[in-house]
Assembly symmetry: C2
Homo-oligomer: 308 residues x 2
């Protein structure tokens, strides 16, 4: 009995008492993860010293966040995003990120769709003709600067009002502003789109309310999404951003990286317009991506799956 009593909870020993109970965990990784979570949670509570009312407000916030989740809305991912956790997990999983000089990754985001049409190089992915025309081009390279042939480039973007096709079914054509391209021996890619616009993350739930209370706006700066796959290379999931966007320095989900800023260069030279196949002025966006061969990352451990 006396030995058992040693385990009674006290403020001082709170972490050891709680994590000590997990000795019999079925999975060593789960035991480690819960040790860290419990320790950091208790550290936070000891520093915050919440009142009972504040603790209850936190319980109610988490509950409302859970209730907001359904098949098409993931409010906990939004919470992870606005607290910088999603980008931190991305950064950790791409730390020592492949070969030197490889392009940086950023979040996948909720608007990726499988099955976008594979299009001939140079196609216009804008199917409704709305927005400011844009010519996007560049090269897919390896770390030595040589072209990568046969790279599959999946691109998707919001329209000139800040909406993806899947957010405006029946208003935008299906697969509007999406396309898949495949590089030839020169590693080059080129396609036409329209200038994307900044847009808010869904802000009608508890996370939006939290942002409001913190004096934060819900906007993501304008960007184009890329997922680039090629045999023998790590898949690259990233965006490129418009550095002139009003929210470029305050992305609500912290996705912007210095190396992912592209130049959106206005072109009104008639010969350039003709060469690119535009009837009027357009924006020229040139961006090269450098893929990394696998085996340059470390620290990746397998999911325990214990809670799945």
């Amino acid at each position: 009995m006396n030995m058992e009593r040693d385990g009674f909870f006290t403020e001082e020993d709170s972490v050891q008492v709680v994590t000590g109970r997990n000795r019999g965990a079925k999975d060593e990784r789960l035991r480690e993860v819960m040790e860290v979570i419990t320790r950091k949670l208790h550290e936070a509570v000891k520093e915050i010293e919440p009142t009972q009312d504040e603790w209850m407000a936190a319980i109610q916030f988490l509950t409302a966040t859970g209730h907001m989740c359904n098949d098409w809305r993931q409010e906990f991912i939004l919470l992870s995003d606005v607290l910088g956790v999603s980008m931190l997990v991305d950064a950790i999983n791409h730390r020592k990120g492949g070969e030197v000089g490889a392009s940086e990754s950023t979040v996948l985001g909720p608007f990726f769709v499988e099955g976008a049409p594979e299009l001939p190089m140079g196609s216009d992915i804008c199917k409704d003709g709305k927005g400011e025309p844009m010519f996007v081009h560049g090269r897919i390279l390896n770390a030595e600067g040589n072209p990568v042939a046969g790279a599959r480039i999946d691109v998707w973007q919001a329209n000139d009002e800040g909406f993806y096709d899947v957010q405006q079914k029946g208003i935008q054509p299906d697969f509007n502003l999406r396309g898949v391209f495949r590089t030839g021996p020169d590693g080059r890619y080129w396609f036409k789109g329209v200038k994307p616009k900044f847009y808010p993350i869904p802000d009608d739930g508890p996370v939006g309310k939290l942002l409001g209370a913190l004096g934060r706006h819900p906007y993501r700066p304008a960007h184009l999404h890329y997922m680039i796959e090629a045999p023998g290379f790590d898949t690259l999931v990233t965006h490129i951003f418009d550095p002139a966007d009003p929210y470029i320095g305050s992305d609500a989900v912290f996705g912007v990286k210095e190396s992912l800023l592209a130049e959106f260069r206005p072109v009104d030279d008639p010969s350039a317009m003709e060469a690119s196949g535009f009837a009027g002025p357009f924006l020229d966006v040139e961006f090269d991506f450098v893929l990394s061969r696998p085996g340059h990352r470390d620290g990746a451990t397998e999911s325990t799956g214990a809670l799945e």
Copy 2:
């Protein structure tokens, strides 16, 4: 532009970048709380180094926990309980806890019910005659050891099978094993009940699954609940526990404190049985409570209410 770019997210600066966005928070306490939460969350992520799959498992766990919550089930409070957070908040709010020698508090729990009947001292709160008879008695004292008259004592307990009346509506009588008593000038209280039994916290949801994966059982050791109010004193919410319970050293919610162990003493002396009004052997449980005058606590800040 350059100044804005200073704020781009990096693994190293992740905390400063995220919390720096909260400069415009409407409420200083909320800003402080979110600074600590963000910092500790990022520390945890950096130490755990979750894979993307592990991060997604955490998102799904929180989502399932939220979906389990409804008007009568609060799975996030259960999560807080089994991680020791509820007891930690209780400990912090009762730190420097009133006057020297005052009784310790513990969690209220989910089975308190307003409006239990006020009964004459000595009443039997067991309305269905099931279980091992128990005589509970003691004194309500102030820190100087003098009796507190007019103290209102609200008691509630599980039955001999580990269920509260509200869990077995139609099986147990309403307000079974609940009662309110009021002390006279001698500060004494006494009533009859039945020996309580250990019981599991609700373990058919995500929190129960987590406990299982951690090799933990869901049981709370047998106890009696008390809420004691008296004019001029802080309200005391606490339990007393049976030290012989098999789970006394491993309460699933960490509610046990050394000072709250009571002796459940078997009595089979015929004169004692007659004096206490029992027809056969019973358990004698004697426990005094010491109330604290207000004004001995500190650190309690008002709830910001910013998210309520």
